[in-house]
Amino acid sequence: MSGNGSGLTRRDFLRGAAVAAIGGAAAPRVLAEPGNEAKPQAPPSKSRVVLVRDADVLDGEGNARGPVLERMLDLGVAALAGKPAADAWKAWFSASDTVGIKTNVWRFLPTPPDLERAIRDRLVVAGVKAERIAVDDRGVRQNPVFREATALVNVRPMRTHHWSGVGSLLKNYIMFVEDPSAWHGDSCADLAGIWKLPAVAGKTRLNVLVLLTPLFHSVGPHDYSAKYTWPYRGLLVGRDPVAVDATGLRILEAKRRLHFGADEPFPVPPKHIRAAETKHALGVADPAKIELIKLGWEEGVMV
């Protein structure tokens, strides 16, 4: 049903017609490997996501300990690839690549600099030239490395978000568009559409969702209160950003249930994650389609 013959209404979504009506859903896309970026492949039966937790990753003041964080990253990458971490980086990146590390600088909960450095170091060891690696967030559209990037690494903390429900890996690419607010409609439901744009399509080879101290509820002009963070001490690593986001979302939902004492929907529904599977076919959000490997500290794991 469309008002005055154009545009969608809530009722379209209720009846499920929107998925078919909108069209444009991309064919299932696997993450790019060097040399096969343009080759469509059938999706794997399950998307693998690795959760790594370490009780020692935070110091007494809640700051990340770099060496522990590096160890967690290596464990996650190795489990994800099913081979030693160094071999995995070499399989995913090559000397001919130009790599953008899309980070997140939100001042209350930025990507830990030590994690950015660890990723950069591993890319160099894998053969990528240091000058062809850049770390950026809000300047990606102007950054020459990102403009020429053949590959991307997506790394950011997960948190609740006032426009999209949660700040996710999917959401992290909004800085690649000229007008981010144009994607805010309907709780940013179509964020996965950004992943079809030329600047990013098929380039993401690794996603790292940081859950060291996730923000599970937002208040105030800055969306932040330390009261609503907790020391989860985890990293989620995966090749399918939708599967990683969906797993992170389950953890935030579980924390909200614990905190509020009952199912407490996000004030803004994070519908973009589910829509990334059902409408955009970017990856899988259904837990039944996700192979979750859990490593390390088990207390309070929640998934």
Binding site: M1, N4, R10
Partner: protein
């Protein structure tokens, strides 16, 4: 308005001011929200005390008390009232309140009891300096009784904000982006039901009867074409949506009510309040 020293804290650095056009330099992403509520100016001041967390106060001067109400109720409020301003909330050591045309948020860099006390003192000083009390949006007074509304009553002066709270349609079916048009949205618990059965009630006010008629017609045509003369239809999720003109200058809509009677009675109650009757 902003105290230079309080509870052992002293102001640190100059006050910073932002307008609607550069607020995004200070607030990541959410600046659009405050602009939508009619932001005139945001003032930011920091206080420090040796060995204690820094405290930052954001004072948003909106164009109206309704805008300040809207900014306060933009967040889900689960904390306890602090008795400061017209409405307030303590969430851990932080404080938010609205009074007059002002919405104020005070946040310490760390959650400590001492910082919380200082935050409260700073908030009290700011509130005392605001002379006008301010009133909530008039339309909020038409909503079903407070005991049946859950969480915040949202102020909706634009379609973007309605989308933020409850996506209705791509199109601005209710003309929310037009001049002198604004609404309120609330979750309402059914007369015979539990909080988890809550549905939404939206009331939109217009400058004249013509605008009401055009918006109601557009909503019926675009969203409820199956409603007919009754203005009520069962939607695809098995719930009921109904629209009714109330008084001469407002439209009330019950969205996803569990039963036909519930939708009908909610709109009837709103119409009675608009008519000056007690439901």
């Amino acid at each position: 308005m902003l105290p230079s020293s309080v509870a052992g804290y002293a102001v640190s650095g100059p006050e910073t001011r932002y307008g609607p056009d550069d607020l995004h330099d200070y607030i990541d992403g959410a600046a659009e929200v405050y602009r939508a509520f009619g932001l005139r100016e945001a003032r930011v001041l920091r206080w420090e005390k040796p060995g204690a967390p820094e405290i930052v106060a954001d004072v948003f001067e909106m164009g109206s008390a309704e805008g300040a109400f809207g900014a306060f109720h933009h967040d889900v409020r689960e904390g306890h009232p602090a008795g400061i301003g017209r409405e307030s909330e303590r969430a851990g050591a932080s404080l938010a309140f609205w009074k007059g045309r002002f919405f104020v948020s005070i946040l310490p860099s760390e959650e400590t009891g001492a910082a919380g006390e200082a935050v409260r003192a700073i908030g009290g000083a700011i509130a005392a300096a605001i002379e006008d009390e301010g009133d909530p949006p008039r339309l909020a007074g038409l909503l079903p009784s407070a005991s049946r509304t859950v969480r915040s009553v949202r102020f909706v002066p634009s379609k973007a904000l309605l989308d933020r709270y409850f996506f209705l349609a791509d199109e601005d079916l209710l003309d929310l982006d037009a001049e002198e048009v604004e609404g309120v949205l609330a979750s309402v618990v059914p007369r015979e039901g539990a909080a988890e059965d809550a549905y939404r009630v939206l009331i939109v006010g217009y400058p004249d009867e013509g605008a009401v008629g055009r918006a109601a017609g557009r909503f019926l045509e675009g969203y409820l074409p199956d409603a007919g003369e009754s203005g009520l239809a069962r939607t695809e999720n098995g719930r009921w949506t109904a629209v009714r003109r109330v008084g001469g200058r407002a439209v009330a809509i019950a969205l996803d009510a569990p039963t036909r009677d519930e939708a009908d009675s909610a709109l009837g109650e709103i119409a009675m309040r608009e008519g000056g009757e007690k439901p």
